[in-house]
């Protein structure tokens, strides 16, 4: 039987080179201050919450955990010593980062002091949300598992943010809303989503096939974005499924599935 295929996509092709965090770090020349600052700012944004959660789960209070997190990013990350110690042979970047956090915590425990300071001229944009208590979902997780939990949610939040922005930028706001109602909200709220018939009636879409294709388009975009983010967190040579397995190894799931 003949077949016609819908080629509508948003977000462009997925052939762009994915720069991993390792390759970013290793490419930084100590003399390139601006590049270094941008890189470190990016690392800080990406890992502030997971590091905070890790420290919090180690038993520190909210305020102390924030101080220690700030101190780690100021002294170790923005202070430059993280890059100087960067060693790709240590495996995945986040494991190297966690090892650095452990060293820092051990140091601070010895010194029993922690002061906030910024290296001169450094850009630092931290997530200043008041974290408060860790979520109930992490109650039974150890510090490494909480770190992975925070990392996973960070990836998802970033992916959803990028996909939504792409949809709005390419006049696919209705695509996004369909995806939100049909896919995201049922997962987030544990409620059954509306039928395609209902969605068509609500948004004035001519038939369910069109609505279904719109949802698939956004799903595909989400997949591309999330996979790219995950590749950035892994090594250049690590397979995507390995990254998934690594992320969920501690979170009670069966890995790649």
């Amino acid at each position: 039987m003949p077949r016609r295929v819908d080629n509508t996509t948003i977000g462009g092709g997925n052939g762009e080179f994915v720069t991993t965090q390792w390759s970013q770090i290793l490419s930084v020349d100590a003399a390139e201050d601006e590049k270094q600052r941008l890189l470190l700012d990016n690392l800080t944004r990406t890992y502030w919450k997971p590091v905070y959660c890790y420290i919090r789960r180690k038993g520190h209070s909210n305020d102390r955990a924030k101080d220690l997190t700030q101190g780690f990013f100021c002294d170790v990350v923005l202070g430059g010593s993280l890059i100087q110690r960067a060693d790709r042979s240590k495996g995945r970047f986040h494991k190297f980062l966690l090892a650095a956090v452990e060293c820092y915590l051990a140091d601070q425990h010895r010194k029993k002091t922690c002061k906030r300071r910024l290296p001169p001229g450094a850009m630092m944009s931290l997530d200043s949300d008041d974290m408060g208590e860790l979520p109930a979902a992490t109650a039974d997780l150890n510090p490494s598992e909480v770190f992975d939990y925070a990392r996973a949610t960070q990836l998802l939040d970033e992916a959803l943010k990028q996909v939504k922005e792409q949809c709005l930028r390419t006049n696919k706001g209705v695509h996004w809303r369909l995806f939100d109602e049909k896919v995201l909200r049922p997962i987030m709220h544990g409620t059954p989503g509306p039928s395609f018939a209902d969605l068509c009636g609500h948004y004035g879409i001519r038939d369910e096939r069109v609505a279904s294709n719109m949802v698939i388009t956004v799903k595909r975009c989400f997949r591309r974005v999330l996979d790219n983010l995950l590749r950035q967190h892994g090594g250049k040579d690590s397979a995507l499924e390995d990254e998934y397995r690594d992320l969920f190894r501690h979170l009670g799931a069966d890995g790649a599935g």
């Binding site: 077949r3 295929v5 979520p135 960070q154 369910e208 096939r209 294709n213």
Partner: protein, 176 residues
Amino acid sequence: MKRPSTFGMTIRQIRELFDVGRELRGGPEGCDNEAKRELLESRLAENLPLDRAQIQQLPEILGQLYQATGQLAGDVIGEILKNPSSDLRTIRRVKRHAKRLAAKAASSEEHDAAAAVYYAAIAHALVFQDQRITQFPMPALAQTYSRLSEEIWISKELVALFKQAGAYCLKKAASG
């Protein structure tokens, strides 16, 4: 208004979000089982359009109405396929209708949903009427029904029909 975050969700929810679109990665265009399931349900819930002979038998005014709107209620396709007593002529019309739908499908999901209806019509004729309404050879049909029986987006009732049809085809193929 602050953008909602996934921080705070259960691990199961996080895992479900990570799985969104996973079946679409690297596979052929459009492998969304959920979409296929919904499309198949839609197809089965539709009324089978009248054919030309039936339209010609209608009073003129109704015929004109049909020409204007393209819609006149025939029997629901899903009910036709469920009913072992559906006549062969109607089953053939379902098959032709599904073939037309597959030909104009705009995505793989649409095509696969239409193909399921197409093969369901063939299966109905084989299983309930011992009639063959296709030129496909029996061994090939048996393989097709075996594959369709494994698809998670196809309803239990259709899977049962496909399994019966597969067994029928294997038996016919073996007996030559």
